[in-house]
Every structure is written in structure tokens, then in C-alpha cells.
Symmetry: C2
Subunit: 212 residues, 2 copies
């Protein structure tokens, strides 16, 4: 069975939990507390030498880290690993250009979205009002709203991020967007993003970020 | 013919130039100066709404952005597009787990390496000694050396990043590592990284970052 190393508060970890849920893949859950440096133990560094969750260890012991690489792997190989392989939905397109677009939006998420939207949420949930990290929030909001603008514009013309079909690109971007308000973002002027959030949440096998 | 939008100083753009060179794919080069906001024009935002180079427009007009998505696309489809398709080398493995490892190291590069190693270089090359951005350099060095430590440890046991075979994972990590000294990094205590830099530079079709 797959083992998932994760912190329940992590949106990056949620991407993996959501993907595994939607593919019907069972897994063992290993919770680590990132605020207590539990990702810096020798045991975990043998899984991910970069000391970050999420990471997985496959049935045969091979480790894999980086959320978007993990969900790509399971989306590509999911049918073979699912408990009920006949009913597995496809979470990644087959055509090479569409696959590259999935990677494009996952890269956008990791580089232009997550470092702003997720970091604002982390600071607001895990630091006190007088913590010096609170000074980072205006810059997080500036960059985060810029990323949300790109998403809004894209989603005004399309149902989902790639080929109007739900994929791991949507999972990657949903993870922190749907909890952006916890980082102080106001989504009221992003109607297409809000419509898309509802559409993602209504997909078969959807789970919430608090569902472990 | 493919059009590449790039700034000649960009290591992210160099990833694409190097990949296209090694695949033997000819392209039109469109230079933009990021220090003069030339990536914020309406014309370019129609190619990449996120306003960042590199981006490409394919023969048929379809745009693609994010360096790692672009090099993935050409590595997957390169043989069909190359001038001499018989001699095209493979830059991405075929097995799904190995492909996921390529994505893992490309994600590591974009999230844990580039924002430190590339940013230190940008600041040192493009700001004056008394610029306030110089204050970011110690944090860039701290995170950058942490990423280099992970690379050193990995490369002490392997020839290249995935399956001991040169791939786009190596291209992605080479782009800014081989010019890390321009950002004030000292690689003298990274012998495996220095050995790997030489091995990457000796691959067929290799070009330098200054080759446009």
C-alpha cells in the first residue's frame, strides 16, 4: 500500500489526498507536524532529502516527492492501482500538448500562486498578530491577486483549466485557492473563479481539505 | 516555425534554447527585455497572460508558457518536429515513474532552487551595490546552498538526476546552477555538482547560455 507523508494543514498535501480519493487508491497516512520540524528527521529525509511534505512511498519502497509530480504519477498510473479499476476517472489528458498545458498550469501554481496565496494563509493561521512575518502579507496579497487575475481571465472563457475538462491542473490550483480567504484574500470580484471552485467541489470523489 | 519569446539573460529561457538545440528544432527568436517591462505589453500578454518569459508559440499559433512545461512538450514530441528526426536524442524517459521523477526534480528546481539561486544572480547582475534588493542576498544564499546540498547528495550516487541518464531534469537544474557563481555562490565544496556540470556541458548539441 502507498504511504503518504503529509501535514493535515497542507494544501500541497491535500492535492495528493484529493487525487488519491478521486482515483480510488487506498493509502496509509503518516502525519508530520511541519511547525515542529518533523520533516527534518533522518527517517523522513530518506524519503525526501529536501525535507518537505507531501511525499509518498510506493508499495515497492520507491519514494517520490513534490506534490505536482506525485499527482501526475497517480493520474498516469491510477487505473492500475485503484481498488475498483473499472470506475476510475481520467485526471490527465492523453494528447501531448494538453499534457503540457497541465504542466504549464501546475508550474504557474507552484511558482506564481502558491508562494503568495499559500504563504499568506500559513502566516495568518500560524503566527500571532505581532509576529514579524505578518509584514510579508502585503507582498503576498499583491502577487496572489495577480495570480487570481490570470485565473479569472482564463476561467471566464473555459470550464476548467485545460480543454474544458477537469484534471490535476484544477486540483493543483484548487488546493490553496479555495482557502484563500484564510489568507485574507477577498474573492468577491472573481466570479469565474468562484463558479469554478463550485464545479471542482462537485466532481465525483471530492473530499474537503479537512478530510484525512 | 516555433517562435520563442525570451530574454537573453534568462536561465529559464536558456532551458528552452538548450532543449531545442539538442532536439535539432529550429525556431524564431523574439527577444524581450524584462528589466524594461517588455513582457507586459498587450501583444505578449496574449501569449502568456502571466507576463513572464520564456513562452513559445507553435507553428499552428498555440501558445505555451512556463519553461519546464515547454521543455517537457518538446522532449515528448521532438522527433516529429526536428529537422533531422533520425538523429534526435531522447531527453525524457518513457517509464511513468521515471517521468514522475523528472517532474519531481523540475518542481524542486522551480520551487526550492530557482527562487534562491536565480534571484541572487539577477540581483547581483542587475542592481547597484547600494540597491535595497541586495538585502535579499543572504536569504537567497541560505536557501540556495540548501538546494545545492540536496543536489550534491543526489549526484554523489548517480551520474544524472533520473535513472543515470541525461534528461530535461538535468537541463532544468543546469540552467542556473552553472552560473550560480554570478550570484555569489561558491561551488568549491560541491565536487559531485561540479562533475555533473561538466558532464551536462559535454552532451551532444550543448550550447552556452550566451549562445542565442
Amino acid at each position: 500500500m502507498v504511504t503518504l507523508y503529509d501535514d493535515p494543514i497542507s494544501g500541497n498535501g491535500y492535492k495528493v489526498r484529493l487525487t488519491l480519493s478521486q482515483l480510488g487508491i487506498r493509502y496509509r497516512y503518516h502525519a508530520l507536524d511541519i511547525t515542529r520540524n518533523e520533516t527534518r528527521t533522518p527517517e523522513f529525509l530518506a524519503v525526501n532529502p529536501n525535507g518537505k511534505i507531501p511525499a509518498v512511498v510506493l508499495d515497492d519502497g520507491r519514494p517520490l516527492f513534490e506534490s505536482n509530480a506525485i499527482i501526475w504519477y497517480f493520474a498516469q498510473t491510477g487505473a492500475a492501482q485503484a481498488a475498483d479499476s473499472d470506475s476510475v476517472q481520467s485526471l490527465v489528458p492523453v494528447e501531448p500538448f494538453a499534457q503540457a498545458q497541465v504542466l504549464q498550469w501546475m508550474s504557474f501554481e507552484q511558482y506564481s500562486h502558491e508562494p503568495k496565496v499559500a504563504v499568506a494563509r500559513f502566516i495568518m493561521l500560524h503566527t500571532k498578530d505581532d509576529d514579524s512575518r505578518r509584514n510579508e502579507i502585503p507582498e503576498c496579497h499583491e502577487g496572489g491577486y495577480r495570480a487570481l487575475d490570470v485565473m479569472e481571465d482564463h476561467l471566464q472563457k473555459r470550464a476548467f483549466f485545460v480543454e474544458d475538462t477537469y484534471s490535476i491542473a484544477d486540483i493543483a490550483l484548487y488546493a490553496y485557492t479555495h482557502v484563500a480567504e484564510q489568507g485574507g484574500f477577498d474573492l468577491s470580484s472573481y466570479p469565474a473563479v468562484r463558479r469554478w471552485l463550485k464545479d471542482v467541489a462537485s466532481q465525483p470523489g471530492h473530499i474537503r481539505i479537512t478530510d484525512i
